[in-house]
Amino acid sequence: MKKWAVAIPAAFLGYFFFYPLVTVLWTSLSGADTSIGDVLGNAGLRSVAWFTFWQAGLSTILTLAAALPAAYVVARYDFPGRGMFRAGVLVPFMLPTIVVAAAFVALWGPGGAVGFRIDNTVWAILVAHVFFNFAVVVRTVGTLWQHIDPRLEEAATMLGASRGEAFRRVTLPLLRPALAAAAAIVFLFSFTSFGIVLVLGGPTTATLEVEIYRQATALLNFEVAAVLAIVQLIGVVSILALYARFQDAAAHSLTLVPPRKPRPGPERRAVMVVVSASSAFLLAPLAVLVARSLQNSALGWRSLGGSTLTVSPISAVGNSLRFAAVATAIAMVVGLAAAATIAYRKTRSSRWFDALLMLPLGTSAVTLGFGFLVALDAPIDLRSWWMLVPIAHALVAIPFVVRLVAPVVRSIPPRLREAAAMLGASPAQIWRRVDVPIASPAALAATGFAFAVSMGEFGATAFTARPDAPTVPVAIFRLLARPGAIPFGQAMALSVMLMVITAAIVGGLDRARFGQLGRF
């Protein structure tokens, strides 16, 4: 099985990922009307690139500032509801970005719950990015922090360092790999943010991602979009390269220090303040979302069957579930074959294959969708094929499947297989009785993950979904763009529905203790 396993992912990614990507590159280079120089020289587009960069940087700094106290508290202290808090911070991160955007529209958009409006400003984008990426910092930094023995700081103070000095000279250097990795991830997500910027930024704010979408779909400026996609890809690959370096550096082997109860008094009060402030920040937008879906006697819910769009909003749920089922199936077949290839072959070429598989993770979804648009018209025109939606979703999900499953298979000690052989198991039996059962929890987690990714995918779907078969995120986006209480209520109701579905999947996975498997 190992010989041909590589063919499936190679063929699938070759045709649906690399071929479109190369076509985008070709379009950007061979533009008849627009040269690269024209695009890069355009002041408006240059300011889009600059804005993309600085808002990502600022989002990263703000996220670190907001989430580090929570990371510290979760790592060091045992407080009532710690497990729930740890799992709860993951919810915003797992939510589809379109739901996050809808929640912030509900909070401070037209008729919002707070008395003022900051939608259509950069602040709305920044706060939403902090909300979305909070978990990245808490989980990445908190996990490492948990493994730094507080006795090291005590040892430093015994050697004459003040507490501040001890933190700066002992804890901070040990924490730096996680801080850098978390910062790189938050920067990457903010850099490629699409749904949040599109909905909250208003008509005049654009990141590269949003501009690619507008140039390609509204202005039909494929060549400009292609150049921007390449600029964006270069940025993303640079960030990922940095991230990979931090990942290597993070391979400290430290022992887990169990959290302790905070001492009564200021310490306990500080822990409570951090936990309640973080919880309020993460819960408020979601609570408002639910509340506003129930406004006007739940008008949004009651009217879901109406024909506000060309089709009824409720039909989008059926579409999404169908697409998610197909996308999950594709992602699992391709992802498991790829994981097997990576895990069982330790050659140099398999490491290259590993790196290639991660590329779709870095490539923005908008670029994927755009690639379909420019590449898949020949030899057969696939551009309006319904399967393109689940295929795009699968492309987004495959790196996650590989990341979840391959490390588990790879980490099976060779000794276990040898022990099985010594007990009389043939190679085929070893695979069936050792490898498969050990990897299956990860594969199950990957299945849930792929399903959730597909349910929430927006960037690529915006290009590939047919108008008469919108997915839930596409329907939410289109409803938010319409004036009136009914479309708004419907958008809220669909967002709540998507939130519940996603939270159910994530909660199920976390309950089954798959939360600690792999990283993002």
């Binding site: 000794r415 040898e418 052989a421 010594m422 009389g424 050990i438």
Partner: protein
């Protein structure tokens, strides 16, 4: 029964086993001992079929096992890191290699003193219990040879001593030949009917514990046994001329020799090797005493008499404890 003949195994650039030969008879417990990196584990893995020898053969009852895959050899193997299956409970681990139609699992668990632990998770067991599960698992298949790679490696001393005693009884009850790898001299002597000493991929001496103790054939074996009083000497009709002075021996003959005085051969007595006590370590029934003699290298003596650092002493050697190498 088991015949290892002139085996050479190369791992990457390194020759891990270099022309090793060994026989294990029916019902015999053979302990293979040597320092880490001496090739003991590789030798064991080769017998199990997990490594392929470059040269030499492994035979069982006359049958050449080259080309027989591990799962067809019917050998039991207990790994140093135990390699318990984390996704299976105790009974499923023990029963991995058997159909369990005749209660082999319960029998094996009873044999190692874990009866009734069938449904426990292996992660919930203590280190010693995990060791027992691993042993029960390799016994449950009723193998024709049992191999153990440092089975007590990670346990602390008192628990080890208990388990060594138990293992001996289990091996006797099972009545099968055993190949037992350890770096620990005491463990090897306690377990093995015979002991093979390995160094640099070669088996340099094989014998019963008493034979090894009485007649180490090389300086390496002598030092591994803890005999560090080794010097060049001239032998002349029952007397050896050493850097420490003349020592009586039981050997006749003449010539240049490499001579060992076992540390337990020394006692205090007049007219012997004189020196000053440099270091004393209390060991319960005896003291390990390092003496700086007036001439010659430092002497290690296991004394029952009371001495203190700085004492001037005179040592005499029991001729039966004066040995010759090579």
């Amino acid at each position: 029964m088991l015949e290892i003949e002139n085996i050479t195994v190369t791992l990457g650039q390194r020759t891990a086993v270099d022309g090793a030969s060994l026989r294990v008879e029916p019902g015999e417990v053979m302990a293979v001992m040597g320092p880490s990196g001496s090739g003991k584990t590789t030798l064991l893995r080769t017998v199990g079929g997990l490594e392929r020898p470059d040269r030499g053969t492994v035979r069982w009852a006359g049958q050449d096992l080259t080309g027989v895959p591990p799962h067809r050899r019917h050998f039991g193997f207990m790994f140093q890191d135990l390699a318990l299956f984390p996704h299976l409970d105790v009974a499923a681990n023990v029963g991995f290699g058997v159909a369990d139609e005749n209660g082999e699992v319960d029998q094996a668990l009873a044999l190692v003193g874990l009866a009734g632990s069938n449904r426990r998770r292996v992660q919930s067991l203590s280190g010693g219990e995990q060791q027992r599960v691993a042993l029960a698992r390799s016994l449950a298949t009723l193998p024709r040879l049992l191999m153990l790679d440092e089975p007590l490696g990670s346990l602390d001393r008192p628990l080890r001593d208990d388990l060594v005693r138990e293992l001996r009884e289990i091996f006797a009850a099972a009545g099968l030949p055993v190949l037992y790898v350890t770096h620990d001299r005491d463990e090897a002597f306690a377990i093995g009917h015979r002991v093979a000493v390995m160094n640099h991929g070669r088996i340099i001496q094989t014998g019963t514990p008493a034979e090894l103790w009485a007649k180490p054939q090389s300086e390496f074996v002598a030092r591994f046994l803890g005999f560090n009083n080794i010097v060049d000497a001239t032998l002349d009709d029952g007397m050896a001329t050493t850097p420490w002075g003349p020592l009586p021996t039981t050997a006749a003959g003449m010539g240049q020799v490499r001579l060992v005085v076992r540390p337990d051969a020394w006692t205090l007595g007049s007219g012997g090797v004189t020196g000053v006590v440099a270091r004393v370590t209390f060991r319960g029934d005896h003291l390990v005493v390092e003496i700086t003699p007036n001439a010659g290298p430092t002497i290690e003596a296991w004394l029952r008499e009371e001495v203190a650092v700085g004492d001037h002493v005179s040592l005499v050697a029991d001729p039966a404890g004066v040995l010759f190498l090579g």
